[in-house]
Symmetry: C2
Subunit: 452 residues, 2 copies
Amino acid sequence: MNSPQPKAAKVMPISGFPEYLPSERIVEQRFLDVIRETFELHGFSSVETRSIEPIERLSSQGEDADKEIYAVSRLAGGSDEEARWGLHFDMTVPFARYVLENAGKLAFPFRRYQIQKAWRGERPQEGRYREFTQADIDVVDVGQLSPHFEAEMPLVIADVFSRFPVGEFVIQVNDRKIPNGFYQGIGITDVIGTLRIVDKLDKIGPDKVKALLVESGTTPEQADQCLALAAIRSTDLGFVEQVRALGVEHPLLDEGLESLANVIRTGMAHAPGRLVADLRIARGLDYYTGTVYETQFVGHESWGSFCSGGRYDALASDGRTTYPGVGISIGVTRILGLLVGRGLVTASRSTPAAVLVALTDDDSREQAVSVATALRRRGIACEVAPAAARFGKQIRYAERRGIPYVWFPGAGEAGDEVKDIRSGEQVPASADAWTPPAEDLAPVVTRTDAGS
Amino acid sequence: MNSPQPKAAKVMPISGFPEYLPSERIVEQRFLDVIRETFELHGFSSVETRSIEPIERLSSQGEDADKEIYAVSRLAGGSDEEARWGLHFDMTVPFARYVLENAGKLAFPFRRYQIQKAWRGERPQEGRYREFTQADIDVVDVGQLSPHFEAEMPLVIADVFSRFPVGEFVIQVNDRKIPNGFYQGIGITDVIGTLRIVDKLDKIGPDKVKALLVESGTTPEQADQCLALAAIRSTDLGFVEQVRALGVEHPLLDEGLESLANVIRTGMAHAPGRLVADLRIARGLDYYTGTVYETQFVGHESWGSFCSGGRYDALASDGRTTYPGVGISIGVTRILGLLVGRGLVTASRSTPAAVLVALTDDDSREQAVSVATALRRRGIACEVAPAAARFGKQIRYAERRGIPYVWFPGAGEAGDEVKDIRSGEQVPASADAWTPPAEDLAPVVTRTDAGS
């Protein structure tokens, strides 16, 4: 072959593998930057793991995992080569392996964040992707994990989401010990099974949940109690009294109420208005043992949670040592799917460049590059016009990309001039001194009217 | 299953899939930040493509590509499911497809950068990886591409590399039209074959290259001429005269010399001392048609090039329209493999946190979190101590992670105090006003003595 050009017939999107245009990518970058910056302000260290794990490790993660895994094998190995590796489908499984592998070199409690792509072979639909970016934080410790970390997680997430250029959000918090203790207190033995049915409340409603509960063996009275518990919701500590009013007693329930009260109390002090105790939240995964979190955008509840997680007693274990942890994961691609997909957030331009340096004629390129070099030295992103076309054409080049300023070397009596092409105002300027207003330095990412 | 914990037996590295410890990852992040920031200062827009492409497109890229491709298929599909997709092995093939797919929505000439992981199934060795990060820039246009972009690429790369905390580097430049025209001028017909043999110079030396050339059909005199051309190297325009002195005439040679002179002249003006015309550089890939680039670290020549690329007449084509381009790719993982692998560059700490807020007792956590919130609001990364242990133990917690400051709420008569744990100096401070020296705000990434 003689060129990297693909066959035209093959040029098409692949369902579930989203790609962005440059201005949309600037929106994604802004969200990723906010997430990283906030995670780092909270003292989390970055970890990246390889994209693949042995199939056996991925397959052991839940009954439905198999059908979602993408296997990876060398093409040249042909059908003889058994797939030993798969692409990771979350950050938790690889992080657990990373902790075990590097335990001797990490400082515990270990605070890490991890922003990476993951892959799942599920059927694509709005808000569900086969390739997607997740942004996780976890705190993991050796043997014991202090409960205050469960109260810290939603503070970090509240900090991240309040820096996003979007509307209101709410972090819903529950503690698995509350339904666990409550169910045991009213005589239900299949706690996990009951939790899984109650978890369907949002999807199928209370009547069908009650029917399923009774079908699974609870009495109608027990089912009503389960539904009454799941209906409790408060932005303050009111949930404690509401649960008490149901008259159920169990030590695990007491423990759960105290734990959740601590999380909500911390939220009221440091992220007021962001947290709600919502006793309906359960999270499907078996391994959560304490606080669980979900996060919704107000007005977009039908999309479900954009950021979820919880506390687990055993993130990892090597047989001798157990590593408990608490973590939460932001579904970056899901958020972008909503906000970019529906045009709720846009970028002011499609390039980082704030300035286009115009070319007076072909011989003046060296002068133009010197201007660009001086601007870049002071952190001003710019590019030199591709050709010494008419100035009107060069201005349109900038317009098309949303570049706000065009620089004309030697245009004025005193030297260079710079034009704000939105207002048309053109003023004398020196490349060693001129600075655009802060809001023009980088692309601005904002909510559109549709999103306000 | 009840936990995400992997089986202990499976906890091991996979050869060719590098992972870093937190302090090493900070080094990698610094390099990636410098690359992104510099690309954006030069007005390149970010693009990310999906990780997979149809196998047919990947397979058409060169004779040896097949054996390097990782095929991807749904595990649940079993052996019946034919692999239709593969992981991309570079950024060029997916970018070419992206340009064709979005041509109507992009503004040409289109300047894009792309920093992503890629995968190759090759045998791992020092400096070669199966999973690796590349950072590419390309300028692509419709129909024609102005030659000045070939001179611009190495300026961007010189800007990136001179911001790295490493030693000297040199960007070697050639123009494929020079050997092409020269070979034709001395009567060699198999230009590509000759180029491929001469490309082995670094590996096997001039004697073996001459033998191979003669074996391939050249006369000993032709072979000597080829070697004489490949030996030419100059940091200024001297190479033109040296080539002329060999007495060979061909229109393509003239074109190539003029083109390379233009690139070197631009480099002398805007990146003095960084570029060298090196007529040995050829680049293996067939599709380069003009300028080609390689980049070496001085003192680490045996590692070969860390950043390579060139000009191609047809990055992509849909049969009607052809998109010529010029691009260059930084092998980020290769650079880190050298610098981190050999301990030549290190980070001053393993966490972004500049401050550890100490806990006086368990009841003072709320006060400590308030201090942390105030510091973060002013961009100071910090964390609160995990437990109200003895202060000595809390200081050791900071020490172990390289956190330079420990904050003691209410420790002094006037209020809070902060201690620089390196010097031991402790001073009164307010969380609303205190700022660490700029060099302590973020981890410092520096060359070690071994690397100086």
